[in-house]
Every structure is written in C-alpha cells, then in structure tokens.
Subunit: 206 residues, 2 copies
C-alpha cells in the first residue's frame, strides 16, 4: 500500500515539524515514528525538500477542511461561521497548551528566507485560505450581515494577517486574551454594521 505508507510518513512528519520546525526535523526520527524502515524514504520522496513541500500540502488540506467544517454548517450565518472558526482554533490551541500553532505561519517565519520554493508554496496556501474566507464575507454582505461599504478582499487580508499575529501572541503569552481582543476588535468594531449604518443614516438624512 504505497500511498498509505506515504501518508503515514507525512502524518508522522507533521507532528514532529510542528513541534521542532522543519530544519531541525531529522528524517530518521520521522521514519521511526511512522514505523517505516529507514532507507525507504527515497522511495516516496525525492529529497527532504520534496517531503517538506508535500507536508505543506498536508497542513493546507487540514486547515482548509477545518474551515470547511464551519463554512458548510447551515445552522450558522456567514459571519457566525467565521467567528466560530476562529474561536474554535483559539480553544484548540489552548487545549494543546499553546504549543505548535499555525503550521503555515510557523514555517513561513522559519523557512521563508531559507527556501524560495517553500516560501512560494506557503504564500499560495495563505492566498487559497483567504479566498475561502472572502467567500464567507461576500455571503455576509449578501444576507445583510455586513455593510455594503466593506471592501471584502482587503478586509479578508487584514483579518487573516491579524489572526496570524494573534496566534503568535497567544503562543508567547500562553493566554487566550489575544483571541478575545481579536474577536471583539474584528467582529464588534471593524465589521460592526451599526457603525456603517450610522453613516448611511446620516447620509440619507441630509
């Protein structure tokens, strides 16, 4: 079962890389954890870089599927889906004692300067995750949860970038507070429709 073994190697690698970073992860350690005979690595991967790039795909798929779990929940409004997704991520991070964090963000800072192929692929993962988030904000506009004045692309970018910094601060402070601040500032201030409505009310009453 070639593909099963490969997946097992990647999954074992994911756990170790999230803990130690990519550069310091030894292949022998990954293969031992995956219970795959040493030496068979090159049957599945061209080299460590190829392994790393495929690992990014695994992480990206994991993040996208977590997000889809919320985006496809028809019981929630578009903004509730997004807000709950961030809350769930924050609480999951807390459950792991704020260890690890966003694999794509961590690898970006660790490998961004070291390896252009990694950097480009990591950037593409962010672009794709942002696209899916933007769709939710578009939907929120359609159902009237968000003001028409919101620039979805720029707002999505900002929310996403802020979130990566929020995860970093949760990690370094070992606290949920950065998420709580993010949650209030994004959903009760920046996206708060009433702040825009006031604007509209003023305009129409002129």
């Amino acid at each position: 079962m070639r593909s099963d073994t490969k997946t097992r190697i990647l999954k074992a690698g994911a756990g170790i890389v999230l803990q130690k970073g990519f550069f310091n992860t030894g292949l022998a350690e990954v293969l031992e954890k995956a219970k795959v005979p040493k030496g068979s690595f090159y049957f599945y991967f061209k080299n460590k870089e190829d392994f790393g790039l495929q690992l990014i795909d695994l992480f990206a798929g994991y993040l996208a599927s977590n997000a889809q779990g919320f985006y496809l929940n028809e019981k929630l409004s578009p903004l509730e889906k997004v807000r709950n997704l961030f809350k769930w991520q924050a609480e999951s991070f807390q459950k792991s004692d704020f260890k690890g964090g966003c694999p794509i963000g961590n690898l970006s800072l660790e490998m961004g300067d070291r390896n252009p192929a990694f950097r480009k692929k990591l950037n593409q993962v962010f672009v794709d995750l942002k696209k899916n988030l933007a769709k939710q904000l578009e939907q929120a506009k359609k159902v009237g949860e968000l003001s028409e004045e919101i620039d979805v692309e720029e707002t999505t970018d900002f929310i996403f970038n802020s979130w990566e910094g929020t995860l970093m601060q949760m990690k370094v402070s070992k606290s949920l507070t950065p998420h709580e601040v993010f949650d209030r500032m994004i959903f009760e201030k920046l996206l708060d429709k009433s702040r825009f409505n006031k604007n509209i009310i003023r305009r129409t009453s002129r």
Copy 2:
C-alpha cells in the same frame, strides 16, 4: 574592554540569529564574525541560553529606540508618530528584501515551545513595547485625534498583534501590500474618528 567585546559578540550574534534562527546559530560562527577568539565565549556568557536571553535584550533595546525616534518627534501628532513608525518599519523591511523581520516575533515562534525562559522574556518585550505604543494612543485621545470611546489597552494589543501578522505576511509574500492593508484598516477604518463622531452626532441629536 570587556563590555565592548561582549557587545561585539552580541551584535554579531544578532545578525546571524535574525537570518538563521537561534537554535541553528553556532557559537563558533558568532565568535568568528565578532573576531573574538574561540573559547572566550564563556568569559562573557554562562551558556548559549544566557547569550540568547541577552540577545533578546539587545533586540528589544533596538526596537524600543527605533520607536522612540518617532515618539519623540515633536513635529508629528501622536497618531502620525505611530503611523509613520509602522510605515518606516515596512519600508526598512522591504529594503532588506523582506528577509529577517521582527526578531522578537521570529524568536517567539521558533523558541516559544522550546524554552520557557525565552518565552517569558519575549512576552515581556512585547508587553513593554505595547506600553509605549499605548502612551501614544492615550496622547492621541488627549489631543482629540482619537475618539474618547476607544479602549486604549485593547486597541494597542490588537494593533500590535496585527502588526506581527502583517510582518509575517510581508515576508512570505515579499510584498508591501500587507502593510498597505494594515495602514488603511487601522488608521482609516478602526481608529477613524469620524466613525465615532457619527455615533456622537446621532446620540446628541436624539
């Protein structure tokens, strides 16, 4: 000149650590770059951890003094000081082809899980930098640049956390765009006084 040599070691270390991370920085390489005889390291530092902790002090001093350069500029209003500081940081980052980035942020993701003493010290640096930023926002409130309704502590936290994520995204995308988005969202949306003023106008006109 004991203290000069020590500073030279720390400064040499700063450049290498910003490039390669702390864990992968070899002491021999640092001493060679500092032109200090191998073996004399332990005259200045207890161990590599002690060196790393003192390196964080160096980075923190550097960041704080950059900020002070803007905060003490009496030609600028409080909000202009803050806005220009971020712009300058973004443009400096661009000049280095988005290599390196925020040393405190990078070390937080790299060392946060590995070394509790590092994590605590890095967190304290963030707390201190935020305090100085908060003073500027308080000042902006006093001179009427910011709405009275702004919660300075929470807003400072959010701006700062968002900035760390913005730096990460500049690095991974090798682009100034994340700064441009941050600049508009923070200074033209989140802190925009007119959005709050509308609020006040509405209230008083009831």
